[in-house]
C-alpha cells in the first residue's frame, strides 16, 4: 500500500468531513474563474475597447479577489488541519515516520486541490455564461451574448490555484513537524482564563469610534478640522480610529458589559442566562479579532455596494435632471431642424411629445459678486426670456411660473449643490454686452433647468423687456428642443441624429447620457455586487468555521449540562443566544459604520441614498441571517451528537 493510496482512501472515507473544505475551495475557484473568464470574454473585451474603464476595473478587482480567495482557502485549510490533529498524532503513535505522514498530508491536500480545480472550472464555465447575461442586462447592453470559455481564463485560474494549493499542501506537510506528539492529542484542551478588562479601555472604544464618526460627519469642505489635519490624512485617521475602536469594542466593552450584567443576580441566576453569559464572556475576547475583521469587511462591502447601487438607482433621475428634453441642439438654419423632424416622425418606435424652437442669448458675465470658491470671475450663461421659460416649464410638466420685472433675474442650475454652488439669491451680477454692462439681480433660484445641461449650461431667465433689449445687441441662438416617447431606448435614432450634427450644434440627448450612466454605474454595481457576494459568503463561512471549531471544544460542557438536567430545547436556546451575539455584533457595527460613511458621501454628492442603501442592507442582513440559522443548527448538532 503506497502513501498515495492511503491518502486517497482517507479522503474517500472521510468525505463528509472534508466536504466543507472541498466546497469552500470549489466556491473560491468558481468565483475566480467566472471573474477571469468575464475579463477575457470577447464581448466584454470588445466593449472595453470603447470604455477602457472596464478593463482596469476588472484587473483591479481580480487582484482583490486573489488576495481574498487565498486568505479564505488558508482559513478553511487551518480549520481542517486542526480537526485532524488527533488523526495525525495517531499515525505518529503507530510508528509511521514523520516524513511519510507529511507526504501523505501533502498528497491528500493536493488531490483535493486538483479535484476542486476541475470541478470549479466546470461549474464556473456554466455559471460564467449566466453572469455575462446579468452583466449585460444591468449595463443596458442588448448585445446577444456569444459567450465562449477562453483558454486564457482556464490557464490563469489553474496557475493561481495551483500556487495556492501547493502552499496549503506544504503547510499540511509541515503540520507533523510543527507540533509535539502530545500537543496533537490535546488539540482543543488549552485551559481558558476569565478575560480581564478595564473600564477605561471600554470607554476608550466608544471614544475612538465617536471621534471617527464625528470626523466623518464633518462638512469636508468648510470644516476647520479637516483643513488642519489635511484632506489626505483625515480619512486615514477616520479609518484607524474606527477599526481600533471596533476592536476594543468587541474585546473590552462587551466583556465589561457582560461582567456588569453578572452583578444583577436576579437576572443572571435565572435559568440558562447563567450558562450563556459566562460562555460568551470567555469566548468573546478570543473572537474579537475575527469579529472586527467581519465588521470592517461588512462595512466596506455595504458601503461599496450601497454607493454603486445608489448611482445605478439614481441614474434615471440624474439624467432627467441634466436632460429634461430628449434631444436638444443649436441650429442656425432650418435645414437640420427639418431633417431631425423627419427622422422622428419616420421612426416607428418613437412619437413626438413636444418640439420647440426658441431664441436664446449666450452672454458673458462678471460674477465676482457671487464670491464662489470654485468659479472664476467670468461665466458664460445662456439667457432666456421669462415668457419662453414659462412656456417650456409648462410643457415639461412643471407647475412653475415666473413673472420677472425689469432687471430681476432667475437662475436655473440643475447641478446646484448646497456646498459647492454660490449663494445666488440676492446677488447681483453684471452681464457684458459689447462695451456696456447690464446689472441683473437674482431673486429666484431654481434647482432644475428647462434646458439640457450639455447644450445650455447654467441658464438665466430675465424679464421679457430686458431680453428684448439684449436681443437687439447680441446675436440670438436658435435652440431646438425635442421630447419623444421611449427616450431611454432611442439608440438608433440618437445615432442617426447625432450623425448629421455639426460640432457647434452642442447636441445633447437623454439617451446618450442615460446609457453612459448605466454603463459605468452598471459595471460598478456588478463589480460591487459580485465582490460583495464573495465577501459576504466568505465572512459568513469564517464565522461558521470558527463557531464549529468552538462547538467541538465545547462539546464536553454541553454533555455536563445535559447530565445535570438541561433539556435540549434549553441547550438550543443557549446556543441561539450566543450565536445571536456573535453574529449580531459585527453586523450592527458594520451597518453603523456603513451608515456613517454613506451619510458623509450623500452629503458630499448631494444625492439621496436612503432607499438604495436600505435595500442593500436588507439583502445583506437576510443572507447573513441565513448563515446564522445554519450555524446555530450545525452547532446544536455538534454538541448534542452522542458518541
Amino acid at each position: 500500500m503506497t502513501l498515495f493510496s492511503i491518502a486517497r482512501k482517507t479522503i474517500r472515507q472521510n468525505f463528509s468531513n472534508y466536504f466543507l473544505y472541498f466546497a469552500s475551495m470549489i466556491f473560491s475557484i468558481v468565483i475566480y474563474f467566472v471573474f477571469v473568464s468575464l475579463k477575457y470574454d470577447q464581448t466584454i473585451q470588445a466593449t472595453s475597447d470603447t470604455s477602457p474603464k472596464i478593463n482596469s476595473v476588472f484587473s483591479g478587482a481580480a487582484v482583490v479577489l486573489i488576495i481574498f480567495v487565498a486568505v479564505f482557502i488558508w482559513y478553511s485549510n487551518s480549520f481542517f488541519t486542526r480537526k485532524r490533529k488527533k488523526e495525525v498524532g495517531l499515525y505518529s503513535l503507530l510508528g509511521v515516520r514523520k516524513k511519510q505522514i507529511g507526504r501523505m498530508l501533502f498528497y491528500e491536500n493536493f488531490i483535493m486541490g486538483c479535484l476542486a480545480l476541475i470541478v470549479g472550472i466546470l461549474l464556473g464555465s456554466v455559471l460564467s455564461k449566466f453572469f455575462v447575461t446579468i452583466l449585460m442586462k444591468i449595463m443596458g447592453y442588448n448585445a446577444i451574448v456569444n459567450f465562449t470559455i477562453s483558454l486564457e481564463a482556464i490557464i490563469n485560474t489553474i496557475i493561481v490555484f495551483m500556487i495556492i494549493t501547493l502552499i496549503t499542501s506544504f503547510h499540511g506537510y509541515r503540520l507533523i513537524y510543527r507540533f509535539k506528539l502530545i500537543e496533537l492529542f490535546q488539540a482543543d484542551k488549552e485551559g481558558e482564563q476569565e478575560p480581564r478588562t478595564s473600564f477605561i479601555i471600554a470607554l476608550l472604544s466608544i471614544l475612538l469610534i465617536g471621534i471617527g464618526y464625528w470626523l466623518a460627519l464633518q462638512n469636508m469642505l468648510d470644516s476647520a478640522i479637516w483643513r488642519k489635519i489635511g484632506f489626505l490624512v483625515t480619512p486615514l485617521i477616520i479609518i484607524i480610529t474606527v477599526i481600533l475602536g471596533t476592536y476594543l469594542l468587541f474585546s473590552s466593552l462587551t466583556v465589561y458589559l457582560l461582567k456588569v450584567s453578572r452583578k444583577n443576580k436576579k437576572k443572571y441566576w435565572n435559568g440558562i442566562n447563567l450558562i450563556g453569559t459566562s460562555q460568551l464572556l470567555f469566548r468573546i475576547k478570543g473572537n474579537a479579532r475575527t469579529l472586527t475583521i467581519i465588521a470592517v469587511l461588512s462595512a466596506t462591502t455595504l458601503t461599496a455596494v450601497g454607493a454603486a447601487y445608489s448611482l445605478y438607482y439614481n441614474n434615471r433621475s440624474n439624467v432627467e435632471m441634466a436632460d429634461p428634453s430628449s434631444m436638444m441642439f443649436i441650429a442656425e438654419d432650418n435645414n437640420i431642424a427639418e431633417q431631425v423632424n423627419g427622422m422622428i416622425t419616420n421612426s416607428k418606435d418613437h412619437d413626438l411629445i413636444y418640439h420647440e424652437a426658441l431664441s436664446t442669448l449666450q452672454v458673458d458675465a462678471d460674477v465676482t459678486n457671487l464670491n464662489s470658491k470654485f468659479y472664476s470671475d467670468e461665466m458664460i450663461y445662456t439667457v432666456v426670456s421669462n415668457r419662453d421659460f414659462n412656456t417650456i416649464a409648462k410643457l415639461q410638466g412643471r407647475n412653475d411660473v415666473l413673472s420677472l420685472q425689469s432687471n430681476e433675474a432667475a437662475v436655473l442650475d440643475a447641478m446646484y449643490s448646497e456646498q459647492m454652488s454660490p449663494v445666488y439669491v440676492g446677488a447681483t451680477i453684471s452681464l457684458k454686452i459689447n462695451d456696456r454692462k447690464e446689472n441683473v439681480t437674482f431673486n429666484h433660484l431654481k434647482k432644475y433647468s428647462i434646458f439640457n445641461y450639455r447644450t445650455a449650461g447654467t441658464t438665466i431667465v430675465v424679464s421679457d423687456e430686458l431680453f428684448a433689449g439684449l436681443a437687439k445687441e447680441i446675436q440670438p441662438e436658435n435652440m431646438l428642443l425635442y421630447k419623444i416617447t421611449n427616450e431611454d431606448n432611442a439608440e438608433q435614432l440618437t445615432k442617426d441624429v447625432q450623425a448629421i450634427m455639426p460640432d457647434e450644434a452642442r447636441f445633447s440627448s437623454f439617451y446618450a447620457d442615460y446609457a453612459a450612466g448605466l454603463e459605468s454605474s452598471g459595471l460598478l454595481i456588478f463589480m460591487g455586487g459580485f465582490l460583495g457576494l464573495v465577501f459576504l459568503t466568505a465572512t459568513g463561512s469564517i464565522i461558521y468555521f470558527k463557531q464549529l471549531t468552538e462547538a467541538n471544544s465545547d462539546k464536553e460542557r454541553y454533555e455536563i449540562l445535559h447530565k445535570i438536567g438541561v433539556n435540549k430545547k434549553e441547550i438550543r436556546l443557549v446556543i441561539a443566544k450566543q450565536m445571536a451575539f456573535i453574529f449580531g455584533l459585527p453586523l450592527i457595527a458594520g451597518i453603523a459604520h456603513c451608515a456613517v460613511a454613506l451619510t458623509a458621501l450623500s452629503r458630499l454628492l448631494q444625492i439621496n441614498l436612503v432607499i438604495p442603501v436600505m435595500i442593500c442592507m436588507g439583502v445583506y442582513t437576510c443572507i447573513y441571517i441565513a448563515y446564522y440559522f445554519l450555524t446555530v443548527n450545525a452547532y446544536y448538532k455538534t454538541v448534542t451528537k452522542t458518541k
Binding site: 447563567l274 460542557r557 433539556n567
Partner: protein, 255 residues
C-alpha cells in the same frame, strides 16, 4: 421508610441480532430513603451501565425503574431533563464542573435552572458550601483549585437542590487519599445528618466501606449484598474484601 428507587427486571442489551451482549440481566434492587448504598464489582461487570440507566442518561432494553414513585421509562426527553434537575444529584469521577463558571456559579447552576429566587439561592449555596468547607474558594474558577476541592464543589452542586437521590460515580477515583477521605466523610455525615439518600458506584474498597450496604455485581447480575449493620468501618472493609476475593476479581484494586 419508603423506597426511593426501585429497579424491576432491568435488562440492557447491546449490539444487533446475532451478536448481542448482555450488559445487565434481570437486575432487581430497591433503595430506601436515607440509605447509603455502595455498588461494587469488577471491571466490565455492568456498574456504569447500571448507573447510567438509573440516572436516566441511558434507557434499559426492558424493565422498569421507579424513582420517587415516578416511572422514568415512560418519560419524554423533556420530562427526563426536568426529572434529573429536580430529583437527582450527580457526582462524577472527573468532576464535570463547567470551567467558565466560578465555584459558586457551578453550585448555583441547578437552582438557577429551576428558577429558584436569587435570595434563596444565596442562602442555600452558603449552607452547602459550609457543609463541604469550600466557603473560601467560592469566587475561584475550577482551574485554580485542587482536585479535592473540585470534587467537593461537584458534591455541593449535587446536593444543593435537595435531590431525592444522589448518584456518585467513582467519586474518589481521581483524588489523593486525604481528599478522598474528606469527601467520603462529608458524604457519610450528609447521609447521617440530612438523611440524604446516596448511591455510589466504586471499585475502591475503602470508599465502599463508608456505605451502609454494598451490592456486588458480576457479569451483569447482582451477585450478593452485605449490610454494615453494627460492624465498624474496618470490619466492614474486611468483609467487603472477602467477598471480592470470592468474586474472583479485583484484588489489585485494593488500596
Amino acid at each position: 421508610m419508603k423506597p426511593i428507587l426501585k429497579a424491576i427486571n432491568v435488562q440492557k442489551v447491546f449490539g444487533v441480532k446475532g451478536n448481542v451482549y448482555k450488559a445487565l440481566e434481570d437486575i432487581n434492587l430497591e433503595i430506601q430513603e436515607g440509605e447509603f448504598v455502595g455498588i461494587m464489582g469488577p471491571s466490565g461487570a455492568g456498574k456504569s451501565t447500571l448507573l447510567n440507566i438509573l440516572s436516566t442518561i441511558d434507557v434499559p432494553s426492558s424493565g422498569d425503574i421507579i424513582i420517587d414513585d415516578q416511572n422514568i421509562i415512560q418519560m419524554t426527553e423533556e420530562q427526563l431533563s426536568d426529572f434529573r434537575r429536580n430529583k437527582l444529584g450527580f457526582i462524577f469521577q472527573d468532576y464535570n464542573l463547567l470551567d467558565t463558571l466560578t465555584v459558586k456559579e457551578n453550585i448555583v447552576l441547578p437552582l438557577a435552572l429551576s428558577k429558584v429566587p436569587a435570595k434563596e439561592i444565596e442562602e442555600r449555596v452558603n449552607v452547602v458550601a459550609d457543609t463541604f468547607g469550600i466557603g473560601e474558594i467560592l469566587d475561584k474558577y475550577p482551574y485554580h483549585i485542587s482536585g479535592g476541592q473540585k470534587q467537593r464543589t461537584a458534591a455541593s452542586r449535587a446536593i444543593v437542590a435537595n435531590p431525592s437521590l444522589i448518584l456518585a460515580d467513582e467519586p474518589t477515583g481521581a483524588l489523593d487519599s486525604k481528599s478522598a477521605t474528606d469527601l467520603l466523610e462529608s458524604l457519610s455525615s450528609l447521609n447521617d445528618k440530612n438523611k440524604s439518600t446516596i448511591m455510589m458506584v466504586t471499585h475502591d474498597v475503602y470508599a465502599a466501606s463508608f456505605a451502609k450496604r454494598v451490592l456486588f455485581i458480576k457479569d451483569g447480575r447482582i451477585f450478593t449484598e452485605i449490610h454494615k449493620g453494627q460492624m465498624s468501618r474496618k470490619e466492614f472493609f474486611r468483609t467487603i474484601l472477602d467477598i471480592l476475593a470470592s468474586l474472583g476479581g479485583s484484588d489489585h484494586d485494593v488500596i
